[in-house]
Amino acid sequence: MYLFSFLLLGRLTLKAIPSDTITRGGALLVLLAPLGLAALLTYKKKWKWLYKNWLTTLDPKKIGVMYIILASVMLVRAGVDALMMRLQQATSAGASNGFLSANHFQQVFSAHGTIMIFFVAMGLMFGLINLVVPLQIGSRDVAFPFLNSVSFWLYTAGLIIVNLSLVLGTFSIAGWLAYPPLSELKYSPGVGVDYWIWSLQIAGIGSLLSGINFIVTILKMRVKGMNLMKMPVFTWSVLGALSLVIFAFPILTATLLLLTLDRNLGTHFFTAGGGGNAMMYVNLIWAWGHPEVYILILPAFGVFSEVVATFSRKALFGYKTMVWAIWAIVLLSFTVWLHHFFTMGAGANVNAFFGIMTMIIAIPTGVKIFNWIFTMYKGRISFATPMLWFMGFVVLFTIGGVAGVIMAIPAADFQLHNSLFLVAHFHTMIVSGVLFGYFAGFTYWFPKIFGFKLNERLGKYAFWCWLVGFILAFVPLYILGMMGATRRLNHYPSGLGYQPLFIVAGIGAGIIALGVAFQVLQIGYSIYKRKEYKDTTGDPWNARTLEWSIPSPAPFYNFAKRMEVSTKDAFWEMKQRKSLDQGEYEDILVPKNSPIGMLIGFTSLAFGFAFVWHIWWLSGLSLIALISIVIYRLSQDNIESFISKDKLRKLDISRKAEG
């Protein structure tokens, strides 16, 4: 009986179903959300619509929307994790132990970090890249449309795996980077770390493929006349970020692979003993992890560059220095990883070198900030929501940057490392630099994708909640770090004076949650009022780049005519010269929808899930299925439909009549 069950289900038994109330609640939510959605779709008879228009689509704009939807759901999910952590730390002093066990608390913070980075920040980033980059460079599509859908479905598979850990079994307790030996079999024998590994491995390969795809798109598919130094800065930043992706993500793949081997085949890469070296893991993971930070932040910098120029009605200040600064950051970001562990006990020379390299990155970053500010100089600034996000970003990012420079000095870092000061620092950088950036970008490009603008008032409420909430939530953490409070504490003695500060931080987190509620409300209300907010011009912000030259929402073929540009800020120039609507119609090929990307996603999901639970027959089977599906796809010939220029002209004219 036991053997039979093992062969069939591996180590998956009834015990995997959560037993305590809080986890059960989470599991129920994870199960009910998709079930409720499925019921709604069945009731509304929308399955076919969903399948034809969304699940099988190869249109980067739709893929981008799906990325953003999933990432937003994950923002809420990992946000709830954050609230749980705040509640635990606000209540768990002295005799009180809070409402979470140590083990549960550790799962919560591990999940929070993992999901926020991989499934929120990365999701928002690839969402925006999909939405904007082809439009901005005047292209009809990405270089490899099918591969793009594969990337998205691998991201989805990783996302499902990380959330499955709420329903079956437990998640990793080893933090978002799973340092060994804690993440090794000896100290983490359960499925938690395996869930972590496979969700990252699968999503990470998706990111890598996206990286290749969009680099080729940017290099080969720009509109005629747009040479590199005429590219919009957002596209430049994406090119920088994706260059980091293709150099950094293979390191992650290799590192996760080695950890998998340690846990499943008994090798000794990172084990304590057997000749393993745990610090090698720490080096490898940060050799990926530090560039990862810049992967997330560079496109957000790009968003700000577009936003500031548009809302100041002025060309970006210092275009060339901006581009140089991006590439300086790209290069330097591979030379600083050791600053994440000055406390490892490397020699003074090594520490000093990495400390200095880290500080040098502050120079190009500072250059960017001054350029943005001087873009406002002699401009006509309208404070729409994207501009508010930008202002909030500069304030918080500068403060966070000071904290970063302090910690770049190894001897100072000895005191601040792993403390809540560090936690406050990187949240300041990532929340203001990444999230605020993507929020700004989302609001900014929303009309282009959906055809109507978002409500400004609710957007502003959301912004102020985020800003005030953020300050309340993280200033106390800076102070707590100075008071010697380390990160990841599920409990602390009373009498240290921590508790009032943790309570304030909790209130701050609550206000941020209110901000998120306003954002949800904003989207809902704007959809309700979509007729009123309709963007009839295609250029609601009086913007500068090519994506605004076409009607909103952007048609599936993006650009009806083959254009040619001669300057940067091409659309702005066209408007100045009143030479809009130039170019000729031409024949195009449009990729046909394909369910195969989704199939690849789900076989990868099955493979990862089976591997987590040691259901070997299923992982073998899904691997074979995966390879067969890929071979099948490569043998398909008729994968595109042809649209003649006459048909395109008709489509375009009827579109413009509508607008």
Partner: protein, 300 residues
């Protein structure tokens, strides 16, 4: 219009008042609690605090102009301003752009020199100069407690140490558990405790007192309870403390040590009046070389 303006003015005053109240409340609270990083009690922590303050102040050279420029431009060039210039073609200035490569560059240059010097001066491995002879303490992070061995005094304790003030203390640190980080914020910065590796930390306490020590790196369930006390006392009191431990009936042999390896949480202070020879080296070497560890642990 006038009424509206007055209302807005009142609103600004209210916000300012609220901010002021928060600031006052916060500073009153903060002056009542202990902030070890800013109120250091040891030689090293003191220098590290100065370093933090220096870097923060130097950064203000960039931060203050950024804030002034940001808000003054935002106000001056706002939409609807009738007086401000508008120059949509202004897209750069070689002088200005060069300037903000150079100014942050100079600051970073200064900080780099400070970094280089302080990294060497405050290298945790560097022995401290003193007329007093250094006390050596071997530290092993266990699941989930700290074992301290005084090899020359041949005593050991769990979760508590006593050190004489104005005397260099040298810690050799390892782990027989997942990675931890050894940190006494009032006395010095931290350093990792890793299995199979031995790190070092040198510090000196200058004030008599009892300071909190902790693990700063997640190591599993009992991690939050891995706290210990550092009693910084006069030399005579330190000797008395050692002698007191010598009275303890418990001895740390290899077999009692193995019992100690069993994971346990929130451990009380515990003393051992003697320690098996080479226990620390056995711990470090057993993860690296089976041959070497047999040599150290062979007489167990």
């Amino acid at each position: 219009m006038a009424v509206h303006k007055r209302k807005q003015k009142i609103r600004y005053y209210l916000v300012a008042l609220l901010l002021l109240t928060i600031l006052v409340a916060a500073s009153i609270y903060l002056s009542s609690v202990n902030i070890p990083l800013l109120e250091p009690k040891g030689l090293i922590a003191n220098k590290e605090a100065h370093l933090i303050e220096f870097a923060a102040l130097l950064s203000l050279v960039v931060v203050v102009p950024v804030f002034i420029l940001l808000f003054s431009f935002a106000y001056k060039y706002r939409e609807g301003s009738k007086t401000a210039q508008y120059d949509p073609k202004l897209s750069g200035s070689r002088t200005l752009e060069t300037l903000w490569w150079i100014i942050p560059g100079i600051i970073i240059l200064i900080l780099s020199i400070v970094t280089w010097n302080s990294s060497h001066a405050l290298d945790p491995y560097k022995p401290l100069n003193s007329k007093n002879k250094a006390v050596i303490i071997d530290v092993i992070a266990l699941d989930w407690k700290w074992l301290f061995i005084y090899p020359y005094q041949n005593v050991a304790s769990i979760n508590q140490i006593d050190i004489p003030i104005n005397t260099p203390i040298r810690f050799n640190i390892t782990s027989n558990a997942p990675m931890n980080s050894f940190w006494v914020p009032a006395l010095s910065g931290q350093i990792y405790a890793m299995p199979g590796m031995s790190t070092q930390l040198n510090l000196e306490a200058n004030n008599i007192g009892s300071y909190d020590g902790l693990s700063a790196n997640i190591s599993g369930n009992g991690f939050a309870g891995m706290r210990f006390k550092v009693l910084a006392t006069s030399y005579t009191k330190y000797l008395a403390w050692i002698n007191n431990i010598k009275e303890s009936p418990n001895k740390l042999s290899f077999s009692t040590y193995n019992l100690l390896l069993k994971p346990s949480e929130n451990n009380p202070v515990f003393y051992y009046s003697s320690v098996a020879k080479n226990l620390y080296y056995y711990e470090v070497s057993k993860y690296m070389s089976p041959v070497l560890s047999q040599k150290y642990g062979g007489n167990s």
